[in-house]
Symmetry: C2
Subunit: 348 residues, 2 copies
């Protein structure tokens, strides 16, 4: 364990001026008074490597994104690894390097960590937990309780790429055209939105359960109705095609680099412009694109890194509090419910 820490984790995560010279039970960070966001997520995605990302990137982006959804600027991450006995050290190294690249890209450091090993058959390669702390700037109040009738509902890009990218590897599917996970940090985008001085009422990243799960939760907790325009919801052609093939509804498919934003109607066009012009960058480092053994799959892997497909997709109403309704192209409406089971397991 000592060896792992000194030969792999410290070189990957310990760079930078404030790197602790002496390992200690806790990282100690200087902080300003105010409000601090604190969040955690575990990652068990299967397979660990998929088009456009891997479990290491997800573990960094996922927690950074949860902090960003509270309007917080990430200060530091923790990383807890649960490794299955027999795991190839090279696989771990690739994941750790991927985390380091993602963290550098976001500008956040992994400041504390832990590793446990479980017997063969009692884990599945690598599970990662990350927790994160972030500072919420003065005057920022981004929360589901601020959602109100009249708010516009925006998504930061087309839906379902992550879920379909992971399923495609798992099911051995081959698609024509580009299909990569959307996994990315949303911290930069949120910073740009807040810096523009727009009053953002609520943000939510779209992960497990997709747009449908996020909107249902918010509608329920804010006790508002949400009306979506089906025609306005962006879904890329290969995702739409794969969903048809697999019998999935893109509204429920997981994303890992998309958010839904609630803003006052009068700010909607301006926020949309900020989203569309924002360029999410995917670090300079290597993106892990195939499995540890060099298994490959016939997918166009051109980097996916833009929010240019962002859209205004609906409005908040006072009617039917707690429900999400989808208005079809022909005018009919249907309720978008919470699924009782998981459409796709182990997607993050």
């Amino acid at each position: 364990m000592q060896g792992l820490i000194e030969e792999m984790f410290l070189p990957a995560f310990g760079k930078g001026e404030s790197a602790p010279s002496v390992p200690h039970d806790s990282a100690v960070l200087p902080i300003d008074s105010g409000r601090m966001a604190f969040t955690t997520d575990s990652f068990v995605v299967h397979p660990m490597f998929f088009p456009g990302g891997d479990i290491g990137r997800l573990a960094v982006y996922g927690t950074v994104n949860d902090l960003a959804m509270a309007g917080a600027k990430p200060l530091g991450l923790s990383a807890g690894f649960i490794l299955e006995e027999g795991l190839e050290i090279e696989t771990l190294r690739r994941v750790v390097e991927s985390m380091a690249v993602a963290a550098a890209e976001v500008g956040v450091r992994i400041v504390t960590g832990d590793t446990k090993v479980v017997d063969r058959g009692k884990g599945d390669g690598i599970f990662i937990n990350t927790a994160g702390i972030g500072a919420v700037p003065e005057g920022i109040d981004v929360s589901p309780s601020r959602v109100e009738p009249g708010d516009a509902v925006l998504v930061s890009g087309d839906l379902g790429r992550h879920g379909i990218a992971v399923m495609s590897v798992r099911e051995g599917l081959e698609f024509e055209g580009a299909l990569e996970s959307d996994c990315a940090s949303l911290a930069g985008l949120v910073e740009a939105m807040l810096a523009a001085g727009r009053d953002v009422h609520c943000l939510r990243d779209l992960t497990r359960g997709g747009l449908a799960a996020a909107l249902n939760e918010i509608a329920r907790h804010a006790q508002v109705g949400i009306e979506l325009e089906e025609a306005a919801i962006p879904v890329a052609e290969p995702v739409a095609g794969a969903c048809e093939l697999l019998g999935l509804d893109p509204l429920y498919v997981a994303n890992e680099g998309r958010l839904v934003a609630f803003v006052p109607a009068e700010a909607a066009e301006k926020v949309l412009e900020i989203m569309r012009s924002h360029t999410g960058k995917k670090g300079a480092g290597p993106i892990c694109r195939d499995g540890p053994k060099g298994t490959s799959h016939k997918l166009d892997l051109s980097p996916f890194s833009s929010f240019s497909s962002a859209a205004i997709i609906g409005t908040v109403t006072a009617e039917r509090p707690g429900t999400v309704e989808l208005r079809g192209v022909l005018g009919g409406g249907r309720i978008v419910d919470l699924l009782s089971g998981e459409q796709m397991p182990r997607i993050c």
Copy 2:
């Protein structure tokens, strides 16, 4: 998942004034400026229930103790669960309640969490990650880099109870007399030590690898020698007996509620007195003592909750930097090395 959160986690963890009324991606906590400690640990102990504790208690105490070792007062914990498909909900409930009791006892809240489910055979019941944040009071500087020749070395109680308690269940051993895990919060003890105004140079909780691992790390990083008096190291009779039987060295056996402290020689007696008179309490709530199916084992389970066996066990020297030496009862010395493998896997 929604059901789990609302029916199990929120009722157990969401009590108290500052409980968030609306679930959100991050918890947001008010903080004062200064220094913040941040730490994480994953828990994979097998079996999940053992004499004197369970995985839930360990997950709370372990992270609280890591914060305390930096002199920090715990502010909040996160909890990430990885559940194996097929886990009995009643087992999860017992673990969650146990965490709630332990957190209440320490006076810290579990403010954010996450749950993932993995397929049967890809996990092992319940894995828990906790991360914690804590405030380091002004003027407190507890760190391995402050250890210096002349410092006295103290342990807060007799060694090896946790490791032997877990092994006893795993191996189906029966012992005469009391043998419970020492698992406990050290936050109260550390608070009492620091409140007495003694200049505590360094604290380290004794977990995996026991006293030997902790001292070797500190000796190496502080570049000092550590000399221990074998006769002064407290080991309870049933632990000593079990170690003999199992071929284990108590210096390497895991603890979950013990610390080693480095203090100036002139403060040693006073700190020892504080330790011995401190009563670690083990909450009012139920302690899970046997497996989920009511499997029991013939152990005297009288609550173990005292630091009365604390002792001064050695001194720091300038000689042989980086090494730990044990002086035997007859005067001979031997080097206490780091083990290259794990003496006991999945002990926490």
